[in-house]
Symmetry: C2
Subunit: 215 residues, 2 copies
């Protein structure tokens, strides 16, 4: 009762402070960029963990402290695209159609959009990258469930809400894969077409159910 700082189990005010979450996130992102560049240049199997570490000026030992496998190094950059979707959905005003909001408001990540698409394209023939890609999207499902739940005035752990979130995630994922495939095969596309596809996918996935708040 009279304790001062027992709330947090670790409250040492002495010695070096642990790396901030922000800084750790940046470090992982930088590693991710380097790894993707190497994967694209020389292939995944031809790239060793030591090369990735060297590219960002770290030792291999430290690299394995940031990532549990060399393939999972692509995760932070991939997460940027799912995060962008989630943020767009957070800004989605009630009373408007989801598809129109996506077209009007969604912006893919500024700097890493191409790198992200490159990974998705590589994942077509690299099972390990495929697995990472799917795991990243599954993590997005949980966040989308919160958004959908708030939207519908229900709880995030309800089965119907989770299914709806997964449905939404699947639509976004498949569209992204589609665009990445075209992009990798040299077919360039205007961004309006990508958003149009996105809109179509979301429409056929939701059938307007989350488009407006029901009673």
């Amino acid at each position: 009762m009279g304790d001062t700082a027992v709330m947090t189990p670790s409250a040492p005010t002495r010695g070096r402070r642990p790396m901030s979450d922000r800084r750790r996130w940046l470090q992982r992102l930088e590693i991710s960029r380097a790894a993707i560049r190497l994967f694209a240049e020389q292939g995944v199997t031809e790239t060793t963990g030591e090369q990735i570490a060297e590219a960002v000026g770290l030792s291999a030992r430290t690299l394995w402290r940031y990532f549990r496998s060399k393939e999972s190094c692509v995760e932070p950059v991939l997460s940027l695209t799912t995060d962008a979707f989630v943020e767009t959905l957070r800004r989605w005003p009630t009373g408007t159609a989801l598809e129109e909001h996506l077209v009007a408001d969604h912006r893919p990540p500024e700097q890493d959009g191409e790198a992200s698409l490159a990974v998705v394209a590589m994942s077509r023939h690299e099972p390990a990258l495929r697995a990472i890609w799917l795991v990243v999207y599954e993590r997005a499902e949980a966040v989308l469930a919160e958004v959908v739940a708030e939207r519908l005035g229900r709880e995030p752990d309800e089965l119907a809400v989770r299914v709806q979130a997964a449905t939404l995630a699947a639509a976004l994922r498949i569209t992204t894969e589609d665009i990445a495939a075209d992009c990798a095969d040299g077919r360039t596309r205007p961004r309006e077409e990508g958003l149009a596809r996105l809109s179509e996918a979301v429409r056929s996935a939701t059938h307007g159910v989350v488009g407006d708040v029901p009673a």
Copy 2:
């Protein structure tokens, strides 16, 4: 024109025949069962590839010819559950509601149902198993796309069809995860309740759109 057996690039009628697909499939299934048993008994990281190989009377070298990683050994058993879903959907008569057909007709795999659920339960804390699980379901999406396409009289590669298939797959996957979680936490459940959940998930995912053939 006058050639006799040039149609197939490999038509040697001499020497030992390659292992039949069926036999190879059985061998992979047997390995899968042994691996899952070991994973459940002593954990994934504590189980070595050599142990899995030994459990089925193979050398480690041969094991790596059947599976590319020790985690992927669980794949054949997991596929049994997705295959069961796909087969149920194939038997789905036109003009009936999908949910009712599932409740009336679906039977999970006879022998490996529990093992499969055990893997799904383990996958909550084992990222590698999680990845396999997601990949297995993604493969099911492609097959479901064919079923949905035929059902709707459209093409399997259409975006809307693929999204619909992915939606269906997500509903099945999440419900299975739900059941596996309850099962692993000791909460036993009658199979009717599982099917009821399945039905609810499918309903909230499809909104009856694939329930009947539209014009």
